[in-house]
Amino acid sequence: MLQTAQRTAKSKTKKIAPPHERFLDAFRWMLLARTLEEKLVSLYRGGLITGGVYIGKGQEAVSVACGLFLQKDDIFAPLIRDQAGRSAFGEPLLDVTQTYLGSRQGPMRGRDGNIHRGRPQQNQLAMVSHLGAMISVTVGALMAKRFKGEKNFIGLACIGEGGMQTGSFHEGMNIAAVEQVPLVVVATNNHYAYSTPNDREFACHDLVDRAIGYGFEGYSVDGTDLSACLDVIGGAVKRARAGRPPQLVVASVLRLSGHGEHDDASYVTDDIKQEPFARDCLKVAEQMIIDLNLLDAETLAEWRKDAAAQVDEAIATAQKEAPPEGDKEDWCAVATRELVDSFE
């Protein structure tokens, strides 16, 4: 049986852990994600996106750290607030805009939308909506790599504190530990599951205390502190890669948007908005950059402009692409063509 460790990483760093390049790199992905999502929101408001828009505002520091340490052959299972991590892992912006705008050329070809996208061939899993379900899928992908004799890979799966209450999450965590796969699970407690506050979600003192019960190593982190996120999540990735037991990181933030853009989040209390975890991680990181003089104002403005330009281009491209059409669609849900059950 395994030894388990459980420590709380120190957060609220006043300094940035080196290397500074890593911090800046991460910041730039966060900026890109924020810029993209703000643009998606305005498209949605303008009626140009059908269905929902779900953004990761306030969670970019956690998310970018999830994507940043992964290598091409690692498995990434992002969820709905992981634009920063997806981008850092290598998802092209065009995948996002094509999917949101329903282009036939996107990875989902109009068959699925918004955050339900992925490129499993490139190790970026396409989430199903049912929360918790992707943990065991990630475990299976890692087992396959082990079966095939690959080395040095890990998997990272994201979850919200709400999703941690699903049975599927529990079974996935436990089976990961039984199989001793190199898995990092990053749980973001953004204090709400849709409209439901923590006190109707769980009743333990600290969600990181679940780690020991699975035989995971558990760590907490202030999700508004980019440097801490890079440290703690980066450390978990490193330990998983080094063959330690599966790792759980629990990050604390506040969701700085509605659940989706249809939701005005009027149920979020004023009190909670005053909590330290309610800070905007992007602003905090930017302030740190300014305070430590890591970038000059022009470069920052340049990065912003560049992000906007990339986003605009991805949107413009996707908008030019043709939508799918019902009568031209290949209505076949199985890969084995001769086994299609044709009837009405």
Partner: protein
Amino acid sequence: MSITYLEAIREAQAKLLRDDERVFIYGQDVGGTFGGAFKATKGLAKEFPGRVLNTPISEDAIVGTAIGAAMQGMRPIVEMQFADFSSIALNQILNNAGTHYWRTNVPVPITVRLPSGGTKGSGPFHSQSMESIYAHYPGLIVMTPATVEDAYTMLIDAVAIDDPVIYCEHKYLYYHLKADKLPTEGLPMGRARIARQGRDLTIVTYSAMLHEAIAVAEQLASEGFEIEVVDLRSVKPLDTNTVLASVARTGRLLCVGESFPWGGATAEVISRVAAEGFHLLDAAPQRLNAKDTPIPYHPNLWSTHRPNAKEIARKARALLRE
């Protein structure tokens, strides 16, 4: 004054909470100031403190809890956030609620509300119609109201009866459908309704497809055909007699449903009519369902995936020509 399908569901729950202290509402986001992903419980938590409760994201435990409470004399109403997520509660529904009365003689009066069916842009996991899965298993009542009036009275019926009820409410109808006022009484439970009279063809359907069928019937009336439309109201029990009586009048049957094509409600209707009303049929009975793929996100695909008025009309015309 006018009232929507969604408001009727809210009003029914308000009335139930008011009239029966055994009733409580349990589900994700139903409580607080929020009142549910679709606002079907808006205001109820405030009006009925402690009786409209938010839950963790735990569909299995939500239904399990409702089952336990029902055994002890309560009348819980469970709201699934989307019908699609009831897949997580399926074991509790089929194997626990569905078997309990038969096994122990103790009924389990829970009502599980499933916001069902497709809407634009909802995709594979927020669009499903699961009535056929629940109806396949014994021990459950499966309601599929298609009108504002039925949404109201059938929900009240659902809570009144001793059996577990799967109440499939269609999201597409939430805002689209309006009535002038709420009825004080509905049709008897388990009874289908002749939604429109005709003599040339019977269309049997339920839930949102009723309105497509009626639109087609009106369109075809201008072409000289009188189409009778039967609204099943509940797919289990399924009112075979009303269906057979209609087919006896028209000699032709088209059955339309929004769920996946293999098995399910339309197959069940056709099998019953073929077995028990074969001699009534002047032509081969036909059905129309959604396509046999996941439900697509893109509106262009979705409108082709689900049965639509154009397709129904095409099928109906072909049948009328036979």
